[in-house]
Point group: C2
Chain length 296, copies 2
DNA sequence: GTCAATTACGTTCTCCGTAAGGATG
DNA sequence: CATCCTTACGGAGAACGTAATTGAC
């Protein structure tokens, strides 16, 4: 096995078809002499003469026929193996799965993923839209190649890099008293009807410490889906605070957003992947696109 | 496929197991530098990095894992293919089939075949004991690799070489009038009760032209099996004429044989094989033994 | 600082091509 | 005698080994 050469295998198969050294050599783009030597060497390795040949006739020996069966299969398998790995490398095949919070998947990531899919139609992209802990679980169990997450997970299981920090925005109706404000801080939310997102979401976890100091009017409502939240705000239930990348949903609903300028009120967005598990080329490419498309 | 090398494949598998270039290189009996280059070249051919490596850690990439599956299978298949052909060449495996007339298979060939089987226990030897035309048919249809036959067949379908010429012997009881004769010719069989072998056998075909001129006493009996013939002779039905290599059977039955010295009364023994079909190494070896063991 | 992989460079070996040799029809 | 495979020999390229370099812990 150690001295096996693909060239020799190819030579064998071509000669088997042509049954003429001269023709086969030409088809392999080598001199007839070199071709002869290649076959001779292959026969030496096989330990048996594979072709019976006089100057006028070339034919497979009994052993040659035997080898022919394996050779055909081998050539196919080798070709398939390299083609397969090559196509994965070239991102003509393969799959990549990412996990991200719904806020990032409302508009920002879908745009990037759409571009990737256009450029690499053979690669299957899977998306999991879920919150913090579940994101990390998906990465841990291998269901997702990587995640975008506000938490970087423990160092033993995960590796991560900070992509950027996301600002928070007040979301309200156009006719809301705060809707026309240029500058806004959390303190301005005092006495305003406020709708919370679910506690498991990173927005809540990020926002709560800051908001605790402000006497907001809690509506007692906790919503999970952005569309629900938008509907409630539109119908006058109150206002809420959302990270930058979820805003398109609210704008589409005719709502207004104003950035909260409190120092330190930012949501970190980490790229997280399983420690030790190297990312596929497809995943790396997609991550590259995400990094390039991240906001200023 | 064309630049594929078994060495690189082996290197990959060893490195996958060791996950250390230094150790893997040593196990492959090359310098660490050469090993590194081999892996690098393989990665170049595959079109993707197969190992993630720092100076302190080596691990398969996603593409490497993919390749690993094919690589393992490939190595096994390549190994199996060469081992298979090698074992056939070395006659540790394989099969060989020969066809020969019962006269040659009564003692002469079985002794040779027994020796061959002792030396090459992995090779399955098949034997067809049948007469002239059927022998050739078996060779034609590929059931037998070669045949020993008194007729060489037509030149279009068969190739042949003369192995030797077999003498004929009178076979009779010890108390027969001719049993003590030193020299004997066909003419001496006049007025002797004679038992024929079947007309399809080569003995009959060979003997008839010569015997026709002698006024033998035809018993009217035609037998097919030597054992029958021996039984008839033993019980006094008459005598018969048999080729040299069938004599052991008759000697064992207590009968006497005396060579017929007529010039030209010989049975040619040809080695016959299908034209264009090359003989396996096993067949060639067996033929070699047959040629060496042929009578003086 | 130490250990491990990579890179650099000179050497060795394999493989190829041109040309002569040999066998077959 | 023409054709086709084999052998011989010189040169190009690949692979190898030693040694210096880079990088990680």
């Amino acid at each position: 096995m150690i001295n096996f050469s693909g060239r020799a295998l190819h030579a064998f198969l071509v000669l088997e078809e042509c049954l003429q050294f001269t023709v086969a050599a030409k088809r392999c783009n080598v001199s007839q002499s070199a071709f002869s030597q290649t076959i001779a060497k292959l026969e030496q390795q096989a330990g048996a003469r594979l072709f019976d040949r006089s100057t006028r006739q070339v034919a497979l020996t009994a052993e040659g026929k035997l080898f022919s069966i394996s050779a055909r299969q081998l050539a196919f398998d080798i070709d398939a193996a390299f083609k397969n790995i090559g196509e994965h490398a070239a991102q003509r095949r393969g799959k990549v799965a990412l996990a991200a919070p719904p806020s990032h998947l409302s508009d920002w990531l879908p745009a990037i993923i759409a571009t990737y899919r256009r450029e690499h139609p053979g690669v299957q992209v899977s998306v999991f839209d879920t919150y913090s802990d579940r994101c990390l679980s998906l990465v841990r169990e291998g269901s997702a190649d990587f995640a975008l997450n506000a938490q970087r997970g423990n160092d033993r299981e995960f590796e991560s890099t900070l992509l950027f920090q996301e600002n928070f925005y007040l979301v309200c109706r156009q006719d809301h008293p705060l809707a026309t404000r240029k500058r806004l801080n959390v303190a301005d939310l005092a006495q305003v009807d406020f709708i919370h997102t679910v506690r498991s979401g990173s927005v809540w976890q990020q926002l709560m410490p800051v908001l605790r100091a402000v006497p907001i009017r809690d509506t007692g409502i906790e919503v999970e889906h952005f569309t629900t939240l938008a509907g409630l705000i539109v119908h006058g239930f109150g206002v809420s605070v959302m990270p930058q990348f979820s805003l398109p949903t609210f704008h589409n609903a005719g709502l207004v957003s104003i950035r909260l300028r409190d120092a330190g009120l930012k949501r970190p967005v980490y790229l997280v992947w399983a420690r030790g598990r190297s990312l596929s080329i497809a995943a790396q490419t997609l991550i590259g696109m995400i990094k390039r498309q991240k906001p200023v």
